[in-house]
C-alpha cells in the first residue's frame, strides 16, 4: 500500500522570507528579478510559495542578501 501511495505524497513544503527581505531593502520585484537575471513572475511565484527555486538560484539569493540559505528558506516544520 505504501508503494502505491508514494507517488501521491506531496513534496516537502518550503517557506521563505523573500518578501520581507526584499521590502527591508525597498526593492521592487522587478529590481530583485533584474539582479538575479530571472523574470518578475519567478520572484512573485517564489514569494507566494507557488514555486521553489533551484539550488543555484537559492545560492544566488543567499549571496545577494548576505544570509545563509537556511535563514531565507525553511521547511514548514
Amino acid at each position: 500500500m505504501e508503494y502505491w501511495n508514494r507517488s501521491r505524497q506531496s513534496p516537502l513544503p518550503v517557506k521563505n522570507k523573500l518578501r520581507e527581505l526584499r521590502a527591508a531593502r525597498a526593492w521592487s520585484q522587478s529590481n530583485l528579478a533584474e539582479q538575479l537575471s530571472v523574470s518578475r513572475q519567478t520572484i512573485n511565484a517564489i514569494e507566494t510559495g507557488k514555486y521553489d527555486p533551484s539550488l543555484p538560484l537559492a545560492f544566488k539569493l543567499a549571496r545577494l542578501f548576505a544570509l545563509p540559505i537556511e535563514e531565507i528558506f525553511s521547511d514548514v516544520d
Binding site: 537575471s37 530571472v38 523574470s39 513572475q41 519567478t42 512573485n44 511565484a45 507557488k50 514555486y51 527555486p53 533551484s54 538560484l57
Partner: protein, 147 residues
C-alpha cells in the same frame, strides 16, 4: 556622414531587443503560413505537375518554418528556470493531447464516423494546428498555476 549616423544610434534596451526578437519570430511564422497556403493552392490547382516539382512546392513552407523554429529554440535559451518548467509542461501537454486527438479522429474515420471533408483523417496541417492550440492552452494553464 554614415559613420556619424551609426555612432549616434544607441544600443537597444533589453526590452526592445526582446520585442525585436519576437517580431522577427512572428514574421517567420507569418511567412511560413503564407507560403503554406500559396503552395497548397498551387499544388491543388496543378495536379499535372511533375512529381519532383510537386514535392518541392509542398516542402517549400519548411524553409521559413525552420527559420521560425530556430528563433523559437533561441528564445527558449533565454528563459529562466520557472519559464522553462512552464514550457516543459506546455509542450508535454501539447504532444500528449495531439496524440490523443489524432488517434481519436483517425479511429472515428476508420469506422466511417469521421468528417466527410477529411476522409483521410487529420492532415499534417491539422496536426500542427492542433499541437499549436494545445501548446497555447498548456502555456496558459501552467502560467496560471504559478501566478
Amino acid at each position: 556622414m554614415t559613420k556619424e549616423y551609426i555612432a549616434d544610434t544607441e544600443p537597444l534596451s533589453e526590452r526592445d531587443l526582446k520585442i525585436k526578437k519576437d517580431l522577427v519570430a512572428t514574421a517567420w511564422l507569418g511567412a511560413t503560413t503564407v507560403t503554406y497556403l500559396v503552395t497548397l493552392f498551387l499544388v491543388q490547382d496543378n495536379p499535372n505537375w511533375a512529381p519532383l516539382l510537386g514535392v518541392g512546392m509542398a516542402l517549400l513552407p519548411l524553409l521559413p518554418g525552420i527559420m521560425y523554429l530556430r528563433k523559437l529554440w533561441g528564445s527558449f535559451q533565454s528563459l529562466d528556470e520557472m519559464q522553462r518548467r512552464i514550457q516543459l509542461e506546455a509542450w508535454s501537454f501539447a504532444m500528449a493531447g495531439t496524440v490523443v486527438v489524432t488517434t481519436v479522429l483517425n479511429v472515428l474515420n476508420a469506422h466511417g464516423l469521421g468528417w466527410e471533408n477529411y476522409p483521410h483523417g487529420l492532415e499534417i496541417g491539422g496536426v500542427f494546428i492542433t499541437m499549436f492550440m494545445l501548446w497555447s492552452i498548456g502555456t496558459a494553464v501552467a502560467k496560471a498555476r504559478y501566478r
